[in-house]
Amino acid sequence: MIEVEESIESFQGRFQIVRDEIGKVIVGNDEVIAGILTALLAGGHALLEGIPGLGKTKLVHTLADVLHLDFHRIQFTPDLMPADIVGTNVVHETPDGGRHLEFQPGPIFANIVLADEINRATPKTQSALLEAMQENSVSVGRETYQLEQPFFVLATQNPLEMEGTYPLPEAQLDRFLFKLKLDFPSVDDLHEIMDRTTQADEPTVTRVLDGEQIVEMRKTARSVPISKPVQDYAIRLTLATHPGSEHAVHETERYVRYGAGPRAIQALVLAGKIRALLHGRVHVAAEDIRANVMPALRHRVLLNFEGEADRIDTDTILAEILESLPGPGE
């Protein structure tokens, strides 16, 4: 019991340290920062969406600076090839004149990978991330290479500039635990950003967490028990995104083509456990599930033609589901 209590306190303390350290550079966007850390501790990946200039890349850089982890950045462009990501076998010439093929790892071999503007690469290149994101391994030729843990992919994309972009396929989107939207900063936040970035001394961060600690925090998060009624609530929430389901709401039936899959339920439960720990609880509540519905499900709900034509936001549908679906005790 005492160990459990200590684990909870340690988890909360470490999380808060990282958060505070990131907060030295990044102004506002507390929910996005919490979401990124949740995705990291849940063993998932995060997709950041926001207009240019909101600090998406800066946020990922800061996270990498805070953590004692390898960080690589991949700028996705239309001519980027899969081998540019995962690496390739190159002919290596030995001093004695011999030649042999040697695997040259790509930028994906890192703990934190920033896939900047991921929707500018072709689907073929985007798909190079699939295996790495799901199985934490990379297959090149006949060889499969394991990625070092923790492995965390942070991708960014611009929702406005659609020309010359390739929307992420559903399979790729489903690999992301969270899709986080960065809002435009408030006036106070803009003042703070100006104060920090236009002075002679820019704020710096220190590394406060290493890979082992992150892996330990992941284990702690997965130890939190969840009761069947709450888990059932998470399942019902996910099923409510499926048209034709008994839990589907009116908006789902009208605007949704495909709903979220089982990965969404995993995301809800894992993120719920982390949130419960952050609130000092040893059980997952329905409130924890509800708090993660938007980032965990918004990119997994596929709109139909009518939804696209009416420019329906998936957040609207999810909000309707949250309002309509009864909780565990209702």
Binding site: M1, E3, V4, E5, S223, V224, P225, I226, S227, K228, P229, V230, H279, R281, V282, H283, V284, A285, A286, E287, G327, P328, G329, E330
Partner: protein, 433 residues
């Protein structure tokens, strides 16, 4: 105390409180609903002519329905997980008790689960079931109280019961087994008998002067029904162009008065001629009556089925013995029972006319009688005054429109009864015009 016991004890306490609240709520709902229904029916009885019986049977029916509803709804069990969810909601516990109860029911050897149950038990010990789920005032208690007050107000409201006696008479007829429905049939039969169009086999009505059957000393054998038929025949001819009041009318009225002779004791029995006492006399139209299956027995009217019926009310003023204004006589049926009757306004001129005719028939010759009749009839006042007399059917109809209880089973009967009378009144009114 074990942690799980603390949790379960709190939940069971909450279930008991929830059941108490539910019982109170259901009681208030049922009583409120019953009182509301009662109030609506009472208001119906105040405002509408046809009444709903609100007696012990109704009360018993409502009580049984309410009891069944309460038992059925209160018998539904309240699971503990619902109580846990309720406690979580009331104490803002973020599903702590709900989750802990599930792990109590599904034990798991895990430090995290143990810590969870331990924390939930501490929370349960700190909670007071009375504060989480206090005994609440039923939501519809106000409705029940309001309906009760409304019922009291309706009970204390002075409801006009001016024509109560007529309805009592209808009720007495029903309770005594009086053939009320047959009286209607009799009425219909008499109307058909009075209508030549409904009797295709009947020979054409004789001339009016042949039907002027003045009650002569030697006409004791004249039956009431003959007089009625002759009266009907005269009515078929329409009003006298000269406004003359024919002798046939008079005879017919007397005949019908005799027809009710056994039912109605008029105030001055000596005013009624001997032939209206209902004695059977040689019937000049006997063959016709037999052909129609109708006969007259004493004062009653025998229908084709042989049932004897009595006209008690609903006939027009000419069919009623004339009494003092608003006077109440009493009728004696064959069974010897007596009933109070309400009579309409007097047609004094008509009474006077009858008296004069009767007096003349005893004292004067036929020519003198005719002369006096001519004088009286030509005065025209008799017809005008006669038209102002409110017919008993309208009279009784107004009565029912305002007050009194009509049992459900008699509503159709009463409705058709007055419908028939109204048709007859309208017909006579048209003929009068």
């Amino acid at each position: 105390m074990p942690d799980s016991t603390s949790i379960l004890r709190l939940l069971r306490d909450l279930v008991r409180r929830a059941r108490t609240n539910r019982l109170l709520q259901e009681l208030a709902d049922s009583v409120g609903g019953a009182l509301a229904a009662w109030l609506l029916m009472a208001l119906w009885n105040v405002t509408m002519p046809l009444q709903i019986v609100l007696g012990w049977p109704f009360f018993a029916l409502v009580a049984v329905a309410a009891a069944v509803r309460i038992i059925m709804r209160c018998a539904r069990p309240i699971p503990l997980w619902q109580a846990a969810a309720r406690a979580d909601e009331a104490a803002d516990l973020t599903d702590e008790l709900t989750s802990a109860y599930w792990f109590v029911r599904h034990p798991l050897e895990d430090d995290w689960v143990g810590l969870h149950i331990e924390r939930a038990a501490d929370t349960a010990r700190a909670l007071d079931g009375g504060k989480l789920l206090p005994v609440r005032r039923p939501r519809r208690l106000g409705l029940a109280a309001g309906c009760f007050a409304g019922l009291l107000a309706v009970a204390l409201l002075p409801v006009p019961r001016v024509f109560e006696n007529v309805v009592d008479r209808l009720s007495d007829m029903a309770s005594a087994g009086e053939p009320v429905d047959e009286s209607m049939e009799a009425l219909t039969a008499l109307e058909e008998a009075a209508d030549p169009a409904s009797r295709p086999d009947e020979p054409p009505a004789p001339a009016a002067d042949e039907q002027l059957l003045m009650p002569q000393p030697g006409d004791e054998g004249e039956t009431a029904e003959n007089a009625l038929e002759e009266d009907s025949a005269l009515e078929e001819q329409g009003p006298d162009p000269d406004g003359a009041f024919t002798e046939g009318d008079e005879a017919g009225e007397e005949g019908e008065a005799g027809e009710e002779g056994e039912q109605t004791q008029v105030e001055n029995p000596e005013d009624i001629p001997a032939d209206t006492e209902g004695e059977q006399a040689p019937d000049p139209n006997a063959s016709q009556q037999e052909g129609q299956g109708e006969s007259t027995e004493e004062s009653g009217t025998t229908l084709p089925g042989g049932d004897e019926v009595f006209l008690q009310q609903g006939t027009d003023a000419a069919d009623q013995p004339q009494l003092g204004e608003e006077e109440v006589g009493h009728a004696t049926r064959e069974g010897g029972e007596e009933q109070d009757l309400v009579q309409g306004e007097l047609s004094t001129l008509e009474v006077e006319l009858q008296r004069e005719i009767l007096a003349m028939s005893e004292e004067e010759g036929e020519e003198e009688i005719e002369e006096k009749e001519e004088i009286v009839i030509k005065a025209e006042q008799s017809r005008l005054e006669f038209q102002t007399v409110e017919s008993p059917s309208e009279f009784a109809q107004q009565e029912l429109m305002q007050t009194e209880t009509v049992p459900w089973s008699y509503r159709d009967l009463v409705r058709s009864y007055f419908k028939t009378l109204r048709a007859r009144d309208n017909q006579k009114e048209d003929e009068g015009r």
